[in-house]
């Protein structure tokens, strides 16, 4: 009853139903192809980790999932709606159902932590200031940031920035949460705390969570399923056990952090140098 009241009229997703569906997605920056023929399906209620090294195209994939980039080919569906075909108004309605925590936090540097968290409520609801205050403090409490409401983003440590950004991302009670590189630039202890927090959020708030990361340890700890992305292509999508046990050479190489053996043709090499 409580959850339905918060969710309002929107229908709640059944566990296992696809929330994010990507088909044949392609992306390019100028001449360079960044994503090729990417298919991906993320189910309601799971923590889905998109894993890949730098340059694998995972940030670009995330930008497409958020509707920040228009796909060069293929479709991206969130909650069954093709986001490439939505008008501004429908896109707005859709965006109220998702939360995003960016890599660097992307907190508004001119606002205090509390104002940052309250920002979506102030923009999208007609709640009075008191309620907004209580709701933002509740979310700050969830991410263990109580007591830091009045600080500015530049006064926070790296881990605190991530947690404040997470509070802002969940303040509208989203059904789908994107988390870009939760552990980038954090020490192992803080990073482990964030992992715990992500799992807790899924369990308490029943949010579907998509995490984009290059950290193997954290990926295997939190994920229900993992998608391995390499040079713009998906190598595999499966449960953590299956990914760990796979005999795909390239996936194993990534998991064991083995650098790719460079196939070097002497003539080609000389030509590249002298060109």
């Amino acid at each position: 009853m409580g959850a339905a009241a918060i969710a309002g009229t929107r229908e709640r997703l059944q566990p296992g139903q696809p929330v994010v569906e990507v088909q044949g997605l392609g992306a390019r920056y100028g001449e360079v192809s960044v994503l090729e023929d990417v298919d991906l399906s993320i189910r309601a209620g799971e923590i889905h980790v998109i894993m890949g090294g730098s340059g694998s195209g995972k940030s670009t994939l995330l930008r497409h999932l958020l509707g920040l980039n228009r796909p060069a080919a293929g479709t991206v569906r969130l909650f069954g709606q093709d986001i490439g075909r939505l008008g501004e108004r429908e896109l707005l309605a859709l965006r109220k159902r998702i939360g995003v925590s960016f890599q660097g936090g992307a907190l508004f540097s001119s606002m205090t932590v509390e104002d940052n968290v309250a920002f979506p409520l102030r923009e999208h609801t007609r709640l009075d200031e008191n309620t907004i205050r209580i709701m933002s403090r509740m979310k700050l409490e969830v991410v263990n940031m109580a007591g830091f409401e009045d600080l500015l983003p530049n006064q926070l440590s790296g881990g605190m920035v991530k947690r404040a950004a997470l509070a802002r991302a969940i303040v509208m009670d989203p059904e789908l949460l994107f988390f870009d590189e939760p552990s980038a630039g954090l020490d192992p202890v803080v990073s482990a705390e964030l992992d715990e927090l992500i799992i807790r959020l899924r369990d308490i708030m029943k949010i579907t969570i998509v995490v984009v990361t290059h950290e193997l340890e954290s990926a295997f700890k939190i994920a229900d399923r993992i998608t391995v992305l390499d040079r713009g292509r998906i190598l595999m999508t499966d449960t953590t056990e299956a990914v760990r046990a796979t005999d795909q050479g390239r996936v194993q190489a990534l998991l064991q952090r083995r650098p790719e053996a460079q196939q070097q043709d002497a003539e080609d090499y000389l030509q590249r140098l002298t060109r």
Binding site: G67, L68, R95, I98, V100, F102, F108, S109, P120, E123
Partner: protein, 262 residues
Amino acid sequence: MYALTENLGRRVARGIDEFGYAALLLAESLYWLVAGALRGQPVRLRAVVTEMMRIGVAAIPIVAILAFANGVMMALQGVYTLKDFGAESQVIPGLALSITREFGALIVGIVVAGRSGSAIAARIGSMQMSQEIDALRVLGVNPVRYLVAPILLAMLVMVPALTILANLMALTGGGLLCVLKLHFSLATYWEAVIAYLEVSDVIQGLVKSLVFAVLIALVGCTNGFMARGGADGIGHSTTRSVVLCIAAIVIADMLFTLFLSR
């Protein structure tokens, strides 16, 4: 040679690209200013007031000083030039017309371009780099409504207001010099100024200042949104913003004067 033409072509293409971008920004900001409230997403008054403080109120001292100094210089040059003809008192209509029609707006334009054209580009540029603009978009807040529209509206109010101030200060500066050099009273000076001036002269200056306001807002915002490549990129787009703002203002002023003074 080939590289030269290629480079030139690329620059022209980029220029056209930016021009189109600025035009879209203008159209979209005007749309939000008018229709935002109807769609339940108004341009926030608080943001407009904040921008007005930054752009206008904070610029009052420097505008006042520069305009005053400029008035003194113009009067001085005028008196020396006209002395040869024994027509020193004719300096008054010269001052009155050139200040209200031309220099009041131009001084304000250049000061605001230097202060706010750079600040806007730097602020939006760094928001772009830190993904704050992306954050706005995924939070369902249109960056043009949230960032550009308040700047545009604040410019449209404050630049003409500063121009009125600059007119008064420059005329006062010129007047004080006339009083010292030509030995008539300040009251006589103001009477003469008012007698020579027509409402249309003042309006011409104010219309120009409105155009400058739009140019500064658009050039600053466009350079901010197009900033790429870290701290270096922000430095580059800030410099570019100021240079382009001032160039656009001076050229627009020249075109205006050509058409209006025929």
